[in-house]
């Protein structure tokens, strides 16, 4: 086992069936992602960026091939096992935040903690820490509708890392934000990557956003073209 490998994809194929036609997204895709990487995945629409993110996040399964996470085959897990795996290992950040509109910021952040064994006061402590880290301690009781887009995305980031997952998967996390707010969000992801050692994999169309990553992969027609951006 190589200690610094987080993901290893071997000969991954993914096909969708549309009507009577089978559409191939990936054919024999191979990639290794190291622990502590901040990886940006770019590419034109339909290149398979989100599909790859779904495969890495265990919300979708490959048609064939292997996906190893910490040397464990996640492509062989059942739906229930994958749900547990996701709750233990992955934090998700979406383009449109996807906060629960009927829960305030603190309760939104608490959601992943409901899947842990933490008691109420331990959960509250984790929520306070997470909200403080994203600079929203004073907005804990605010409903999503009362927060700006940037603030909502920060709540979503707090929700993503509150249960201390190894991996953060971000699907166009700044796609709905202005430049300044987007940069703040990206700096926060950078902080989580550098200071807390989270592996961040981010799908983006925005070259400026990709500059915050230490590696950018260009995906085109189901194949990678790798470009090192930072050491």
């Amino acid at each position: 086992m190589t200690q610094d490998k987080l993901f290893e994809l071997n000969n991954v194929c993914k096909q969708f069936v549309k009507g009577k036609e089978a559409i191939s997204i990936f054919e024999n895709l191979n990639i290794t992602i190291k622990k502590g990487d901040f990886l940006a995945i770019m590419g034109p629409s339909g290149s398979g960026k989100t599909t790859l993110l779904n495969l890495l996040g265990g919300v979708d399964q490959p048609t064939s091939g292997e996906i190893k996470f910490d040397d464990d085959r996640i492509d062989q897990l059942s739906e229930g096992q994958l749900a547990k795996w996701r709750s233990n290992n992955v934090g998700f950040i979406f383009q449109f935040y996807n906060l629960m509109p009927m829960l305030n910021a603190a309760r939104n952040v608490e959601l992943p903690l409901l899947l842990t064994q933490l008691n109420r006061s331990q959960r509250q402590q984790s929520i306070n820490t997470a909200l403080e880290l994203v600079g929203l301690a004073d907005r804990a009781k605010h409903m999503p509708g009362e927060l700006s887009g940037g603030q909502q995305q920060r709540v979503a980031i707090a929700r993503a890392f509150v249960s201390d997952p190894k991996l953060l998967l971000c699907d166009e996390p700044t796609g709905d934000l202005d430049r300044q707010t987007a940069d703040e969000i990206l700096e926060m992801l950078q902080l989580l990557n550098r200071k807390f050692g989270k592996t961040v994999i981010m799908v983006t169309h925005d070259p400026a956003a990709a500059k915050f990553a230490n590696k950018t992969l260009h995906l085109d027609k189901g194949q990678f073209v790798e470009k090192e951006l930072m050491a």
């Binding site: 996040g57 739906e79 547990k84 009927m102 829960l103 309760r107 992943p112 409901l114 899947l115 929700r159």
Partner: protein
């Protein structure tokens, strides 16, 4: 926060929808409670009938009287335990609209046959001594506020008093109650002898006989023996169990059970469709949120249970409120209708039935959206959103 909090938050996120849906359920269970209590009240004569009690009436119909001599003849028939008799007086108090069920009975045997009635021994003893005395049921006493010792004039819309009027004066010697709350105590009884001696027509005839058998297993045999005894006489009889007699009497009003079932079924079916549709729409609106929960690691089964619980909570919220209000309504209406109907009661049986229907409503209306959520594919849901 826990799953219950999430369920509550989902349920209450659209207040108007919650109000309208739970109001529909509220109405259904209000109707169910009230109508079931009404049916129970009408059926109480059947439900409270003793298993070993038989009623003997004239074969033509129960309004034609029987010779008094039948009482002793029936006593001689094998298997008969106690016999009493009664005459319909057609009573009213002060105004013909204030109708009262008043029966001229045999004081010595009446309480032997109706053993479920409770009367204080000294009041019974006083009544047996006092030929112009009457015993009143506690519900009737409550309606008119009558007490022991009151002198009450009761008029008849059938018989004439030999003093030329239609009114008999009675003294209230006692107030009887019953073991079960559903047993009718909204009537009065007085001495047959007093009635016979003061009426201007009718002779020594009784309206009907009521008897108990030594065991309910010989009811049929005893009934046949009685009818055989009086076969080919001027007054042939028809003997049936009290339950069958009361049921036949009630059926003259129409099939109350069928009417109630139809009303309740229609109300339930309509509400089931409304609630089911609301739940499906409510959950469909949340497709994206369910996908997010699944992405975070909530299992499909956990989400399935949460949606089903939400549907059950809605059914019980509306249902229990409806049932609670029906209890208050029944209590109020029961006092208003005390002169016309036996006690209307929201019995344990009705409450248990209602709880069962709430459970069924919650499960049936919640199962489709819960299964949809269970099967929801995260990728498809996000693509849809």
């Amino acid at each position: 926060m826990n799953d219950l909090f999430l369920i509550y938050k989902n349920l209450t996120r659209k207040k108007l929808r919650l109000f309208l849906t739970s109001f529909a359920i509220f109405i259904a269970f209000l109707i169910f409670g009230a109508v079931s209590a009404l049916k129970g009240s009408l059926d109480s004569g059947i439900e409270m009938s003793a298993d070993n009690r038989l009623v003997v009436v004239h074969k033509i119909n129960f309004t034609v009287s029987l010779p008094y001599a039948y009482v002793n003849k029936v006593k001689q028939i094998e298997g008969v335990k106690d016999v009493t008799h009664a005459n319909w007086f057609g009573g009213y108090y002060q105004e013909p609209s204030n109708q009262i069920v008043a029966l001229a009975v045999d004081p010595a045997s009446y309480f032997d046959v109706y053993s479920e009635l409770i009367i204080a021994p000294q009041q019974k003893a006083q009544w047996l001594k006092n030929q112009t005395g009457m015993l009143i049921g506690e519900r009737l006493a409550k309606v008119y506020g009558w007490k022991v010792g009151d002198r009450i004039p009761i008029s008849s819309n059938i018989f004439s008093h030999n003093d030329g009027g239609h009114t008999w004066d009675f003294v209230v010697d006692g107030i009887f109650s019953a073991e079960e709350v559903q047993t009718d105590t909204g009537y009065l009884v007085f001495h047959y002898k007093y009635f016979k001696e003061t009426q201007t027509f009718g002779g020594d005839n009784v309206g009907w006989l009521v008897l108990t058998t030594k065991s309910s297993s010989i009811n049929e045999k005893v009934a046949k023996a009685i009818d055989k005894e009086f076969a080919n006489s001027q007054a042939e009889t028809e003997t049936s169990t009290e339950k069958a007699f009361n049921k036949a009497f009630l059926e003259q009003l129409g099939n109350i059970g069928l009417i109630i079932f139809s009303v309740v079924f229609m109300a339930f079916f309509t509400i089931l469709v409304v609630v089911g549709n609301t739940m499906v729409l409510a959950v469909r609106e949340r497709t994206n949120e369910i996908a997010v929960l699944k992405t975070l690691g909530f299992t499909s089964m956990r989400i399935f249970k949460m949606i089903l619980a939400e549907s059950l909570l809605l059914a019980f919220l509306g249902g229990l409120t409806g049932l609670g209000v029906s209890y208050i309504v029944i209590k109020g209406v029961s006092e208003q209708l005390a002169r016309f109907l036996p006690n209307m009661v929201l019995t344990t049986d009705i409450v248990l039935q209602a709880l069962f229907y709430m459970l069924a409503l919650g499960l049936i209306s919640g199962i489709i959206p819960a299964v949809n959520a269970l099967r929801l594919n995260i990728v498809s849901a996000f693509n849809r959103g």
